[in-house]
Structures are given as C-alpha cells and as structure tokens.
Symmetry: C2
Subunit: 313 residues, 2 copies
C-alpha cells in the first residue's frame, strides 16, 4: 500500500493512477487527502482554470466535449471536473454524456473526473477546489470545471476559476433567467450555445443589446458574446481564442494576483466555516445539547437566534 508521499511523488511524475487515487482521498476529505493537498498545493497555480456554467439543458456537457477537442487540437492537456447532482435521475443522462465523451476519456492527455454535489440539489462540494489543485499540479494546461444549475454554485465557480464562461441557450426563458439570476455579472465570456436553433440569432441580438446597456467593460475587459454549437463543433475555435485572450488579459494587468487573493480568501473561509460548524455539531451532539436546544426551538420556547447563541456560548 503506497503512502500519501509515494502517491504525491508519482503524481508529480505524471502517473494517472496516482492522480486518480489522490483525487478520491481529496474528494472524500480524508486526513490523507488533506496531507496530500499540503504537499501538492505549492506545485499548483500554473494551469488556466476555466469555469463553465449556466442553466441545466444549456448543453454544457456537449460544449465541454467540443471545447476539449479543440484544446487537444492545439496540443493542450486538460482536466475536466464535472459536478453532477446525485439525483438517481441523473444516471441515465450522464451515461449518455459519457458515451459521447469516449474519444476524450481514452486520450492520455485528458483526465475526466465526475464529482458528486454537496446535496441532492447541487452546490459545490468544499473539496472541489482541492480536486482542481491536484489536476493543476499534475501539469494540466487547462482545468475545466463544469457545473449544473443556476444559483449559488456559479458564485463559487467564479471564485475558483481564472475565467468564467456562462452558457445560455436561445428561448426557454433563458433571457429572463440571465437577467433575474444576474449570472451575467460573473461572466468573463458569454456563450449562446445551440446556435443552430431557429431563434438563435434573435436571442443573440437581444443578449448583446441587454449586455451592452448593462456593462461597458469590467477592469478593462469587454466580455465577448459568442455563438457556439457544441453538437456541431461550431464557434469553438473562437471560444478557445477568447479563453486565451482573457488569460493573457488577466496576466498582463496583474488582475490575476488580486483574483488569486480573492480565491484564497474564499477557500480559507469556506473551509473554516465548515470546520467550525462540524466541530460545534460534533461537540454538542455528544453531550446532547444540540438536540435539547433544537427541541426547545421547535416547541417555540426559544427563538432560533437565542438557540444559536446558546449553542456557541
């Protein structure tokens, strides 16, 4: 049985099996996983991390596949982290996605990792950033993180990635969705996917108009709006070009350093929050105080704020 130190050494030497085993330790947040991350972390930071996000049904998996093929054509190595909801429903769909990705999964320069979400309804697991770190330290040129769902996840992805790509589809209330959910605020690149749909051009023009009125440029970067068809592999070269341009932009303007500090802050606080509450629950589950406080709040003898105060005290 190899030690964590052995596995880390093999990871740095490019051993995929070691990478795979370490990812499992990291994803499950085991003590070995944390020890591994401590050794891996200093060697990470060279990869271009890209978040690919947008509402369900936007064709993100197919687009990820198309993107991966174009990146491979340009001789880039890449890791793909797909965040799948754990719903029993998702199995079939994901199997389909996986079959479509077969050419990629057999490519030794591509590493695909599916991760469970925190709950049934999405939410990035706190260990996601550790998985990205390991793929980065493995030497991948690009690490693509693909998330399902619109909501809090996007904020977390944006906090983790160098470049955030938001994927929209024509029709389907996606324009309203974009406006209401404010996902455009986190988009470094905006993609109108399924550009072969009949109403795609109209939708593209609408989005362009809305976006233009909303934001001129953020930190000197004008968010491009691109048309793609993941299924037809159309517009993908332009998307990879835009990724490269955004990366070059943040490198040249030293935004990357500011962003990395934000990334670090987000990660440290997310982990600290998790640790603190785990510790509190563990302590007061043993001594029965948590159940006692909860029962009193449920009986309306105490309000939740006082319950929280008493739990912490």
């Amino acid at each position: 049985m190899p030690t964590v130190e052995d596995l880390v050494e093999r990871l740095f030497a490019g051993n995929r099996r070691a990478l795979s085993r370490l990812l499992t330790l990291i994803e499950n947040d085991t003590p070995e996983g944390r020890r591994a991350l401590k050794q891996i972390y200093p060697r990470s930071g060279a990869a271009h991390t890209v978040g690919l996000t947008g509402s369900a049904g936007a064709g993100k998996s197919t687009l990820s596949g198309a993107l991966a093929r174009e990146l491979r054509r340009r001789d880039r190595t890449l890791g793909i982290v797909a965040i799948d909801p754990t719903s029993p429903f998702s199995q079939g769909a994901l199997l389909g996605d996986r079959i479509r990705m077969q050419d990629l999964t057999s490519d030794p320069s591509v590493f695909l990792r599916s991760m469970a979400t925190r709950g049934n309804l999405g939410g990035l697991a706190p260990s996601t950033s550790g998985v990205v770190t390991a793929l980065d330290a493995f030497g991948m040129d690009v690490v693509l993180v693909e998330t399902v769902g619109a909501g809090q996840d996007e904020v977390e992805v944006a906090a983790m990635a160098d470049t955030t790509v938001v994927v929209l589809t024509p029709g389907a209330g996606d324009d309203v969705q974009a406006m209401k959910a404010g996902i455009m605020e986190i988009a470094d690149i905006l993609v109108v996917n399924k550009s072969d749909l009949p109403n795609a051009d109209l939708f593209y023009r609408q989005m362009s108009a809305i976006y233009e009125s909303y934001s001129a440029a953020r930190n000197g970067w004008q968010t491009p709006i691109l048309k793609t068809s993941g299924a037809e592999q159309e517009g993908i070269e332009a998307l990879v070009d835009a990724l490269d341009q955004h990366r070059a932009h943040i490198e040249s303007t030293q935004q990357r350093e500011a962003h990395r500090i934000e990334q670090a802050r987000h990660q440290v606080l997310a982990l600290a929050r998790q640790r603190l509450i785990d510790q509190l629950v563990a302590d007061h589950t043993t001594d029965g105080r948590l159940d006692e406080i909860v029962a009193r709040v449920a009986r309306r003898e105490m309000d939740p704020h006082s319950g929280a105060d008493e739990l912490i005290a």
Copy 2:
C-alpha cells in the same frame, strides 16, 4: 420613536405599519430585530408555510398571484415573501410583477414583502425565516415564500416550509432540469404551469411517468402532479385543495412535529454557522491575521486547509 416592545405589541394587535417596520429590523438582522424575534417567536407556528419554487421563467410570480386570489376567495389571510435577486436587471421585471399584483397589494388581508437575496446569484438570506416568523405571528393563515432559481435555495425553502410546491413549465429543458437537479425529491406538490402551451399535455404525461417510476409515496403522501395556468387562473382551486390536503396530512400523521424539529435544527445551525464565521472574520480582520493567512495561501506558501486550521486555532 416606538420601542421594539411597542412595535411587537402593535404587531400582535394587527398593525400593518408595525409589521412592516419590524420586518425591516429583522431582515437587516439588527440587534432590535433579534430582540423582536425573541418576543415574536413564541406566538408563531400557526400559519401554513408554503414554499413555491422552480426554475426562472416558470411563471412563479404569476402563479403566486393566482394562488393568492384563490386563497382570498376562501377568506384566508396571507403573507407573500418574494425573494428577488439584487441584480440591476431584475428591477424592470419585478416592477411588471408588482403592477400585475396591484389588486393584492391594496388588500388589507394580504401582505407582500420583497426580500433581497444573500448575493447577486440568489441564496436565501439567513433572515428569511425570521421574516416568515413575523408574518406567521401577525396572524396570517398562509405564508407563501417564493424563490427564484434552481439549486441550493430549494433545499433551504423546503427546510423552512410545511409544504413545498415545485413549479415546472413544458419544454425548455425543464424535464432534464427536474431530473438533473433532483428538485422532485423535495416536492410535496408538483405543478406543471403554463398549461396553455401547446406541448403541455405531453410534458405532463412525461413528468407523470418519470415521477411514478421514481417515487411511490413519501411518508404516506403521494405527491400530486397538477396542471395550472397562472395567467388564466386555471387549476388554481385544485392547487389550493392540494395544499389543504397536504397540511391535513402532516397534521394527522404527526409529521409536522418531526418536520418542525428539522426546521429548528436547520435554522439554529445556519445562524450558528453565520455567527461563528462573522466572529472569526471580525477578530482576525482587526489583528490582520486573516489577510496574512490569505496572502500566504495566494502565494502558495500554505494550502487552504492549513490556512483554515491556523485561522481557527
């Protein structure tokens, strides 16, 4: 200037202005708001709390309005808590919703409250449950909480509400969305809205088939699938009947007590988590340790786990 105690007394006497002022204190999580909640909480618990959730563009606001009108026809008083993203985009759309709701906003037995989300991308503010508590203690028969977005929000709404209604629309990848996001797992009542759309019947049959194969019954409750049109006020009577049936079901089976304990646990832990991290950030912002740790993590001299450990230590 009335004291919190005055305001609480007036709230119990049915004074809407006192309610409105208290909601502001509670939403902003001020010390006065917390003091008010302490006094209000023991008098809450009689209302039927209903969560209305589903993806953006599903017509939830229009459905809320239709539901409110039917509840008023049955002489029920109600509070509506609408969780709006703070995106600048949302202003226009929300104004439209508000105009459509004008007959309700002038009804003295209806109280509509819009709340900001935690961030730009949704997420229930921790103070949401306090707002529900105040409307409940005010004496509303029903408190309807309407959220935008699919994701972690739904879990929080389901943890807060007695009855969770999930709203879907025909087409638009909503079937895939439902499957992938697993929102059906939290639905006590499933609604196919916009039933006037041409593909509504097909969609309804698909959802019924999927749902039947997935879950027979949860705790003796068979989740009904209903067709509605919020805009045409169709199927709304059946929806209110289903709400009443679900309420009667949980009352009769003592599930309500178990659910209330879960609600209390969720609220106490959410507040405790927030308190702990706020305290930690405040302490270590003052002494500069947070910035120092974050900078070291950003420079890759320390991994995020070790950073979190050091911050807590």
